[in-house]
């Protein structure tokens, strides 16, 4: 029994081995980008949107609304990042129902890659928002004694993100595989249905946590103090 799609080599080229994780990631990417390209071509303001465009608008506006609700400001760059996280993870998890398709999110390498992306994106957003000095100063607040704890907290956030997503998706697949041997028809269906739900929830949680981390890194403490004083 294979526990991770990293071990499945699909093809080799130029001396590189392309495993199932990478190939399936490309499939998910192709689906997302292809649908987006087909739906958003020839957009005109004076033409009423069709149902596909309306569906995409609902998805994008919902993501934007959720992110702006957390960041309390218009943050398109955060939306590009966190929205892509959500869409990629959600579609990968939903494709769990396709027989033989191993979601890339069931690979610890993928979840680590996404967690590392968040881990790097958070300070980048924070520095671009507040500047390098003010961002680094946040690590020694309220006292310089807190510096190691803040650093550990920062890394543990990334690790927890990676492990949580990987554990949920991989466990769903593993349990479905085990139950397939016990009760070939009934339990796998239930587990797949549960997997769809938990997959969406995990995508939502991953994206929301990433947004919260970025928002906390970009938030201006002085502004929040002033806001509390006014309220």
């Amino acid at each position: 029994m294979q526990m991770t799609p990293d071990e499945v080599i699909v093809f080799s080229a130029w001396g590189l081995k392309f495993n199932s994780t990478i190939v399936n990631t490309w499939i998910v990417m192709a689906l997302l980008v292809g649908v987006s390209m087909v739906v958003t071509r020839n957009l005109r303001a004076d033409v009423p949107p069709d149902r596909w465009r309306t569906a995409l608008e609902v998805i994008v506006k919902t993501i934007q609304g959720q992110i702006e609700e957390i960041t309390q400001k218009s943050a398109r760059h955060v939306m590009y990042f966190a929205g892509t996280l959500f869409l990629f993870i959600a579609l990968s998890n939903l494709m769990l129902v396709i027989p033989g398709f191993m979601p890339p999110t069931s690979s610890l390498s993928t979840t680590v890659a996404l967690a590392l992306s968040v881990l790097v994106a958070v300070p980048l957003f924070g520095i671009s928002s507040k500047g390098l000095g003010r961002y680094l100063k946040a690590y020694i607040e309220p006292s310089i004694v807190m510096l190691p704890f803040n650093i550990i907290g920062e890394f543990s956030r990334g690790i927890s993100l990676a492990i949580r997503l990987y554990g949920n998706v991989m466990s769903g697949g593993v349990i479905a595989a085990i139950l397939l041997g016990v009760a070939p028809f009934f339990f796998p269906v239930l587990m797949d249905m549960l997997g769809l739900l938990t997959g969406l929830i995990q995508a939502y949680i991953f994206a929301i946590l990433a947004t919260v981390y970025i928002s906390s890194a970009t938030a201006d403490p002085q502004a929040s103090v002033n806001k509390e004083d006014k309220s």
Binding site: T40, A45, V60, L85, P104, S109, T110
Partner: protein
Amino acid sequence: MSIDWITVIAQIANFLVLVWLLKRFLYRPILDGIDAREAEIARSMAEAGKAQQKAEAAAAQYRAQQAQLHADRDTLVDKALQASETQRDALLAAARAKLEQEQQDWHKHLQREREQFTAQLQRAAAETLLELTRKALRELADETLEAAIVRNVGTRLHAIADELSQAAGDSTEALASTRDALPEAAQAQLQADIKKLLPHTALRFETNPQQAPGLILRIGGAQVAWTVDSYTDEFDALLNDRLGAGASGRMRSSGG
């Protein structure tokens, strides 16, 4: 559970590419499309607002023009009514004036016809009276009318002999005027009467076709006459009374 770091790097690269691609083909087109549509809706709403304002202005202008037209129409109707009333009054006044004029003309015409008829009747009556008197005298007294007239004048001259002498004064001529020439016997009788009363006065006879039948004798400032006029005047008065009574009776009967 193991981590393939090459796969991790590849997935990071894949994820970054996916972020760029979705930003390029999903987020920007969708959000820009929404913004453009909102702008289009806002522009359409603004245009609709302007169109509504224009329509309201046009409606207000139309209502003002309609009110003005109504006011003008009322003014025109009032003027037309006043003009028609004025014209009607003028026409009525003209009709009344014409009617009064026609009534006056008719009255004048009637009066004139009556006067002509009366005059004709008077002349006919005078002629008839004269002929009847002449006939009656000839049949009853075997005497001519002229002789009777001369005798009547002579009798009246004798009655006023003194006044006649004073009126004659220094006049030496008396004038006997008749419409037709007097018979010789009558002339002789009258000359004899004048000779007896006024010996120095010569009598001259003349005829006047305009004069009423009879005899008019003028001596100085005095005048003695007998003509049919006095009788025809009475006849005329009686006739006028009868005619007047007959006309009023007809008017009463026609007036109902």
